[in-house]
Symmetry: D3
């Protein structure tokens, strides 16, 4: 069943065997965006200038979730992350907040899911903390920007985005 | 700090006090979409006809994640969910898979975050299980479709989507 | 699809909707047995008389696991347990240790899985703590002894056992 | 206190010190069986032919639980598993389902508990998903089939079974 | 075995049976203090004025840990918290940071452990984030300030403290 | 922002990058003390002589919590511990119980937080199991005794304590 390494020959879910892979430094960077009303963004911007607690909470939630990826995604391997970083950019002209998550490990398999889980959870936390002001936020363009290391070679995103 | 119930008067993160709220039936429905190459969709479609393991795994991952929402999103309350449902629709003409997650509780606060976490994790699991074939998938249009119950009244999404 | 409440009309996994069920006191009792060599049992017996740490650890592991049932078994609801008890009996003539776990809640669904998870984890912990002396232990006869409360009525086990 | 590596000289629970052990490839395979009424087995068989969701859910639950072994069994070390596989066989003449779980790591200690936890949780999930049809199922013959690698040498089960 | 509700008549660990208790509003407040060098406090103070990330992270960690109390403390019941608050006060003249955690539930048992776990984890997070500057910090005076609600009546701390 | 390795140049929380560090054997030992009334200590002492379940439960809770440190403390790395030990000493003349936790790993970063979390959780478990007899217990003097290994060199505590 070529191309789907998570399914065995009978189509059953199976974890990918990485026993014989060599550990190496692997990095992945993911991106996502949350659209919010201008009123909401203004308030986040102001808080960010003063206390930054919404983005601080979202950053911590994203970092913690990246470490939990193997518990959330059924067939992910346990990986000991050596670095996790979350960055936000409030983009007024697009009426939203961009988030990137960069994850590094020195392991036997890639960390793209960890980066994607980090971004998703950071955006969901922003949603949670602002939802009392506006439930019409939309999370969009969540994708893998790039990954490096490992046998399968480096990757740069070549798909289509919205924003 | 009107409109941001998760921040106290000093702008510090704080859980919302729901001690005096009455429990009632609350439902929330969230939606998300993952764009994938036609080649990938064809294979998912075939597997779905035979064994369905990719969508079965994604459904279970979404249900389990919805129950874990209070562990992922820092200021979410612990809520005992009474129902969680995940539905998928492979949409060939949009080249992707739509996912909805419906969550119900009989509790003191809403379950919109649980529905959004369920959708996000289901889509991430699809990404994980198909990524060996294509890393250019994009998760998009993740939003709250509707919610019912509770003091703040019913909600229907009125924002803008991409697909 | 009568008889399988965890599958929807399409055969897909689904959590059972308990939104409209009334909370009531529900109790379940499960049983399991681990066969071990006499040499092992003698040592456990002696330790039990002095310090009891193997059975103390197994008791605590079983109680903690019962509380985690909703995280282990994909379609289990989150239930707040009001009582969990684990009892052991070293049975020299059967060359093993019997374990029962009794769980109570005041909730909308039964706690039979919690009792079964409690017994299984207690037995697995005994295995773990004694395996350096003997890897030939066998866990057997794990079943639901009885359950009380709820709409479906009381249940007493009527199947066949080995020991 | 020879033979019980999990107890210190005072009989207190203690984790085994593996600091100075060399990492190596270690594999363990565990087995378990669940007896169920013929009516239940017929329905599982039919669903398995069509959708397979009961066994798909049980397979995923077993894989996820194997990764969580160090959280369930108090004195187990954290181990990064490199492979986990779950197989089922519906055995009509024995009126039940056999399950094996094979786990591999490249680490400092064995993975027999991970294999046993994987099997136990997979069987418990089958129980959960079929219990609305029959509560008289029995889980039996849960044991370690074999293990390979590590200083203590290979092991093959030599005990007695029921089925 | 009067006075020790967590031990059964044989001295074995047992969860307290709260099945027949009535739910009511219960509040607990705990306190703790971390001593740190003046150099460290100065820097925390400055950061707090600007970004507050150390205390923001500690606040979130304390809130999340309070929700996890039933997973950390073996015989604690699962309780759905309705409110958790963490407050810090940098006390220059005592060369340290005071932390209080207030927890509320509407449940069948008290939340004193949740308040104590919240304080402890908040202080440990401060330690973690400042330890690169000074490993000589000491956490002290961790105790229950007061609790209200429930059958056993209100409590105010009457013990001795250090600071 | 010298001295605070957990904050990036903008003062935002960030995990420390350990990708390029060499794994080595690292050990940390932490200490804590819980003051309790003499009546309580007498009973713990008696139970300890007979069954020891309070200290057995606290020991297991501390070991399990040490393994969970990366889930509790937001910016801690996931570390695979190779050894965890918890020791208690009932000190009648100080009217309390001293606890030490020693943790070892063969990894890229130190285990001082793991040792501190182990001690704190062990003391909190003692509090939980004895609180029905006395809520005036105080946990104090929780600090790092020493750490060895790693690039930053060995450490011995040089601060001030109470008891």
């Amino acid at each position: 069943m070529s191309g789907f390494s998570h399914l065995d020959d009978c189509g059953n879910a199976a974890i990918v065997d990485i026993t014989d892979k060599e550990p190496s430094v692997r990095t992945a960077e993911a991106y996502g965006f949350i659209r919010a009303s201008e009123a909401v963004l203004d308030q986040i911007g102001q808080i960010s200038n003063k206390k930054g607690d919404i983005l601080a909470a979202a950053r911590i939630a994203g970092i913690m979730a990246a470490k939990h990826t193997w518990e959330l995604i059924p067939l992910c391997h346990q990986i000991m992350l050596t670095n996790v970083g979350i960055r936000f950019e409030v983009i007024q002209e697009k009426s939203g907040i961009a988030c990137t998550c960069t994850v590094t490990c020195n392991g036997k398999t890639g960390v793209e899911m960890e980066a994607l889980v980090g971004v998703s959870t950071a955006l969901l936390t922003i949603y949670d903390m602002c939802k009392s002001a506006d439930h019409n936020m939309v999370m969009t363009d969540i994708h893998l920007l790039s990954k490096k290391g490992g046998r399968s070679g480096d990757f740069c995103f070549k798909g289509d985005l919205t924003e």
